[in-house]
Symmetry: C2
């Protein structure tokens, strides 16, 4: 398949054919986010394809996980003029190493500021690229006309990179988000009231019951996130809004006006908080019963006897921890009677025990569902956490990046995980944490309780996602479920104008009364006084 | 059956027998509210009974709709020493007449204040009675011991009269509310953030998109409701909290701490607004497909030919409107080609046409589901409105009391109803409204759109109610879905302490900088000046 400027040729032809021939299902335009986010979106796409919908996925020439060819979707590949592959593993490894250095206290204030600055620059660059994808689409009149002609029923998108809302707005299509993170924070903060007195903000790992200091810090993080949104993220998209839709269209209002938020959250795991009628919770929609293990892995697992197995994985983004840390972990593993399966990509750690099997990839869900798996050493990405909850396996947490600290804190507060600081990790500390989770039955029973609650739903999360996607297609939106309060000026939304008016009115009444009192009572006194003089 | 002090004897024996013999279902203690509320609760009770649960209903000797004997439940009858039957129809007729007089402008300011005072006194008396029921239960050690021994799984209650929460707290039972109204307002206001800038408060019929004046009035109503709650309603229950649970137990916290709110709301009808994870929407759970009409009624309906039928009902509470008004209505009905079925209890109106059939009772749901029924003249009670939405029948609204004004405004804003002011009703005006709704197809098509949206649910509202009631029974509560933020002091909840601290800190920093500037810059100047002098 050869790319013509701005769009994959065959994709267009298929897309138009679909339109001409018609279909019993709907036509869905998908804007995914790469990396682990794609794992989630792809699951939805496969399900929607199986339900007879025609899916068109918008990807860029720098897409990493999102392949051009698939039996489940047609793709439109946008060539980005300048490809900075931020979805490169090395980027995250170097990012992680700098962060570990700072957390270990080995960096100066200047290094910290420089690291933070670099982080913001990267964030800005990611969103500049994402907005550039929109520019490339809008510039391509042929593509835009073809998208218009296809008469899509819906835009389904991951607003982690939210450019797709501009395309959806241009095509006047109802939109569904598959979301947890949006622009620079957790999705709820854009659309639902979020009292910072008990709702921890993104980037601050803190319980929902906070001390005064924690509440003050939480508010600081809240304003920090607003600043990042306002000055780092939104300008990229607001510029395009002004350019293509005129000065009255605000990027934030576009985000807030979408129909359904399929939120990858479950309150078994997340702290309870205010929500909105158009937020549908699909946390753990990727979870499924485990399948049989490959025979060699099953043999290894069975060889663990009654002691069982511990599995370890640090997710898709990070290739590996520094060898000093992995060697401490390996030494601890070597001391436990359990067998260990460790998904490990970097340099082989020293002090590796005979009980430990290093693998480049493992069937994580099938292992977690295996009765012999006793604990899961995890970095705290949401996919892995939901799988652990689904199968009721307690966790030893090694948070590294992003939301992983917050995620693991939630599990720890529910008594289902022990969390360690990777920058202070010692063999002894790791061993102690492992033994706690393996030997204290409360970790397992708490995780099993979460599992029972998580599985007990009137409609399974994936079915819920399909229902609401198809609901929006059937009814051409879900306007009755969303407020337009976001379009109010902020002072009106918070009633500050009314409160000011009431205060001024009360003061005016008091002042009038005081003045009248002064005129009626004091003046005669003064007159009498003057007369007496 | 003879009442022993404070409890029906046989009920107790059955209750204990149920406990001894065991059951596959659960044991549910129900605190209902009488009148139209009971219609809803009874539907849940019948369903739960059919699902093999054992239901015990707490009623008083003055109960009106809630019968002592039923095949679906066992009852416990609490003899109230002083029976003031506020659930008497005459009470509402006289109440309505006074209100009509005031609305027609025929009453002085003094009469208005006296009417409002009377309303508050009645409200206080209703809650005094409801709290007295709790006192009678707590005083009866035999009853309380028997309730304890029965080991109920759940308290299910309508918190319109919220005394049951005290009993649930005493018995330490998980609790589910079947709710729309609670104490003096709409249930959401107790448990979910409710920005008064776009959430209309109870008792103020206004759209969600308000002018500045409307927002100011909405805030006034909000504070009025808080005052009524604080000074008229809560004292009755807070006194009991202090008496039985000590000074640390707050009645409001008990309300806010219950497990699941089965909210009789659907956003097809209600304005979208913030909600909470433990609110489950079951609006319209009473709706069901229509059955065949009795043969005589079917014959009457069929005799309408292509013109069809208009039906009219003003609900269960109001016996009838003054004859001057009903005669205007009758005269208008006489002029339309449709046949009319009118549920009417009072004096026969003058000018009644041949096309109008007065009945004492009608199978409202079966009529609304009949294809010949073209319009519904209704008072705007929620049960009737949900039935009209379910069957897609447009409404001519005659709101009389309570929430009926707000309910009908919502339908009107959706283009599915025409609402009239009953105090200014003329034959001509009523005829015009009827003809509009009958002849302009938009009313019907809007109502049918609402009907399609309302019926398109992944789980029907009644099934949702059963699921969540049984969920709470299975897991002994749903603590993971409710925040405990309500237990924070109000200033902390709203972060006022943090904001004050931050403001003071900023001011302190500014003051310090200013002082240092003063010391460093101005003092040398002054010194120089002094020296020069």
């Amino acid at each position: 398949m050869r790319n013509i400027p701005g769009v994959t040729c065959v994709a267009l032809i298929i897309s138009v054919l679909v339109n001409i021939l018609g279909s019993h299902g709907g036509k869905i335009l998908v804007f995914p986010v790469d990396g682990s986010h794609w794992v989630n979106m792809n699951l939805l796409i496969k399900g929607l394809h199986a339900r007879n919908h025609n899916i068109t996925v918008v990807r860029s020439t720098s897409s990493w996980y999102v392949k051009e060819k698939s039996i489940h979707y047609t793709s439109i590949t946008i060539p980005l003029p300048e490809v900075i592959s931020i979805e490169d593993q090395d980027f995250f490894v170097s990012f992680l190493q700098k962060m570990l250095e700072i957390q270990q206290g080995g960096a100066s204030v200047l290094a910290f500021i420089s690291f933070y600055w670099e982080m913001l620059t990267s964030l800005s660059e990611i969103h500049r690229q994402a907005s550039q994808l929109v520019v490339e689409m809008f510039r391509n009149a042929l593509l835009m006309q073809s998208l218009q002609d296809t008469q899509f029923d819906l835009v389904l998108m991951d607003p982690g990179l939210p450019g797709g809302v501009l395309v959806a707005h241009q095509l006047q299509l109802p939109t569904v988000f598959n979301v947890r993170w949006i622009t620079s924070g957790e999705g709820h903060f854009i659309v639902a009231p979020s009292p910072v007195s008990y709702v921890p903000t993104s980037g601050y790992a803190v319980p929902d019951k906070m001390t005064f200091t924690q509440r003050a810090k939480n508010m600081f993080h809240y304003f920090l996130n607003i600043c990042i949104d306002t000055f780092v993220v939104s300008p990229h998209y607001n510029r395009l809004c002004t350019q293509y839709f005129g000065p009255d269209t605000n990027f934030y209002h576009l985000l807030q006006s979408i129909d359904i938020w399929l939120m990858r959250v479950d309150f078994v795991f997340e702290f309870p908080r205010p929500t909105m009628p158009n937020i549908v919770y699909i946390g753990g929609f990727q979870c499924k019963p485990s399948k049989a293990l490959p025979s060699d892995l099953e043999e290894f697992v069975q060889s663990s006897g009654d002691h069982g197995v511990v599995i370890m994985s640090l997710g898709t983004l990070v290739k590996g921890l520094p060898i000093e840390i992995t060697s401490e972990i390996a030494a601890a593993f070597a001391q436990i009677p359990q067998k260990v399966i460790w998904r490990h990509l970097g340099e082989q750690p020293k002090k590796l025990g005979n009980n430990t099997l290093l693998v480049h990839w493992m069937p994580q869900n099938d292992l977690l569902g295996h009765p012999k798996v006793k604990a899961f050493v995890a970095h705290g990405g949401t996919n892995g956490i939901y799988e652990a909850i689904y199968h009721g396996v307690p966790v030893v947490g090694l948070p590294l990046l992003f939301d992983q600290f917050e995620n693991l804190l939630r599990l720890e507060l529910r008594g289902a995980a022990k969390v360690l600081d990777v920058t202070k990790l010692t063999s002894q500390g790791f061993l102690q944490a492992l033994q706690d989770v393996l030997q204290d039955p409360s970790y397992r029973s708490n995780m099993e309780r979460l599992s029972r609650l998580h599985r007990d739903k009137p409609l399974q999360p994936l079915d819920s996602a399909f229902f609401w996607i198809e609901f929006v297609m059937r009814h051409k939106g879900a306007a009755h479920l969303r407020t337009e309060s976001c379009k109010m000026p902020w002072y009106a939304y918070h009633s500050l104008d009314v409160i000011s008016f009431l205060i001024v009115s009360v003061l005016a009444v008091l002042a009038t009364v005081a003045a009248m009192f002064h005129i009626l009572c004091c003046r005669p006194c003064r007159t009498r006084k003057l007369k007496q003089e």
